[in-house]
């Protein structure tokens, strides 16, 4: 859209989201999960705010389990500046910039607890799919839920 000749507003007023924000980084990582699990477990980032704080929940979703949701961790930061940010996981961790956020996320994604959660969700999801194919409805292997 062309700027009105009398406008005093700058041309670059509407800025795109900062690609280095915690939200952008989490969304990028959420998008990277689905291809690795063949869409059996996907991830979504749920943002909320209270006062001057923003909370970003990193939630795993298992579509085959009636969209079962498991929150893996959350990141909390001030509206501005966005760093340092706090990761609330098994222990609370503070990250000072984008690089340390990426480093910590990599550790969370490689952690044994994360691996176990993903494996179990994928196993239940696979079982549910098998049950659905045999028209029995989604029932995890160990027990009725």
């Amino acid at each position: 859209m062309r700027k009105s000749p009398n406008s005093l507003w700058p041309e670059d007023l509407v800025m795109t989201a900062d690609p280095r924000s915690p939200k952008s980084i989490l969304e990028e990582q959420a998008a990277a999960l689905a291809p690795l699990t063949h869409n059996k477990v996907i991830a979504t980032v749920v943002a909320s705010s209270q006062s001057t704080w923003v909370t970003l929940d990193f939630v795993l979703v298992a579509p085959a389990l009636n969209n079962y949701r498991y929150k893996l961790f959350k990141v909390r930061h001030k509206l501005h500046p966005e760093y340092p940010a706090e990761i609330v996981w098994d222990a609370n961790l503070t990250v000072k910039d984008e690089d340390s956020l990426r480093e910590r996320l990599a550790k969370i994604f490689r952690a044994e607890t994360t691996s176990r959660v993903l494996s179990e969700l994928m196993a239940y999801g696979t079982a549910a799919n098998v049950e659905e194919e045999s028209s029995e409805g989604p029932v995890p292997p160990s027990s009725p839920r």
Partner: protein, 271 residues
């Protein structure tokens, strides 16, 4: 009427005791933490004592909670799970929706007082973000804190108060508004009437409470009217086996005692 029971049931023998509790108190929702048996074994035990219609809403992963209910499947929905918190929605006959938050927070064995307070602040944030406009929420579980500790009382943590009157109003501190919970578990402190003086006993150090009340229930103000205050109890036995021993609790069953309470809510039960 909706009857809910919570128990940190640490030993295998607690499985049969939990089944007998459900049977004798006609519990509709049974929540267990830290148990060495799984939901399928618990369902079998319930079936064996003649409690039918129960099904499992246990977290699929990443949690040590077991959640069993005999509410109609459409009346008890999954919301979200995380490592120390499970959220479910109870749909009542009148259409109202209750958020049921079940917790098993970090033990004092592994965390400091400050860690526990910080964890309480994080968990309450997760609960509040899932509350509806009418804020009808029940929190129950093993908080690993006593009702008087900062993590339970602080406005930015559970904000759980002992007075019904005080929870009628929100509190504004600086620019943030905090909505309190009513914590009826305060009323179970002490051994009045011969009841157990807490749910968990530990002895050691100069400052020693002996009995702690870690297992609690919290209610939003909008649910106080539905709460049957006389029903909240620490259970001493399952009708056959005592949960108490010479040194406090009978550790062959569990190191915690179960709690049970009733809400005057109309819910639909499985056939």
């Amino acid at each position: 009427m909706l009857t809910i029971s919570f128990w940190n049931a640490k030993q295998k023998a607690a499985c049969e005791s939990a089944a007998r509790l459900v049977r004798s108190h006609e519990a509709d929702i049974l929540i267990l933490a830290e148990c060495p048996f799984d939901d399928a074994e618990m369902l079998e035990a319930l079936h064996a004592v003649g409690s039918h219609g129960f099904w499992s809403s246990t977290p699929f992963t990443g949690s040590d909670l077991i959640i069993l209910t005999r509410l109609l499947r459409g009346s008890f929905g999954m919301v979200q799970d995380m490592s120390r918190l499970a959220l479910r929605e109870i749909r009542c006959r009148d259409g109202s929706r209750i958020l049921l938050a079940m917790v098993h927070l970090m033990s004092k064995m592994w965390r400091t007082h400050n860690d526990q307070r910080k964890a309480a602040e994080d968990v309450i944030g997760d609960i509040v973000s899932h509350e509806g406009q009418d804020r009808k929420t029940i929190i129950v579980g093993d908080f690993n804190m006593n009702p008087f500790e900062e993590g339970m009382v602080n406005a930015n943590a559970f904000h759980a108060l002992k007075s019904r009157k005080e929870v009628r109003m929100n509190r504004q501190i600086d620019r943030t508004v905090y909505t309190p919970f009513y914590n009826p578990t305060w009323g179970l402190l002490g051994d009045r009437g011969g009841r157990p003086p807490g749910t968990f006993r530990r002895v050691g150090g100069v400052y020693c409470l002996f009995w702690n009340l870690f297992d609690q229930v919290l209610l939003r103000e909008g649910l106080i009217g539905c709460f049957d205050e006389d029903s909240l109890r620490i259970l001493k036995d399952d009708g056959q086996i005592s949960f108490l021993g010479r040194a406090g609790v009978n550790r062959r069953i569990s190191d915690h005692l179960p709690i049970m309470f009733r809400m005057n809510l109309e819910v639909e039960i499985e056939d």
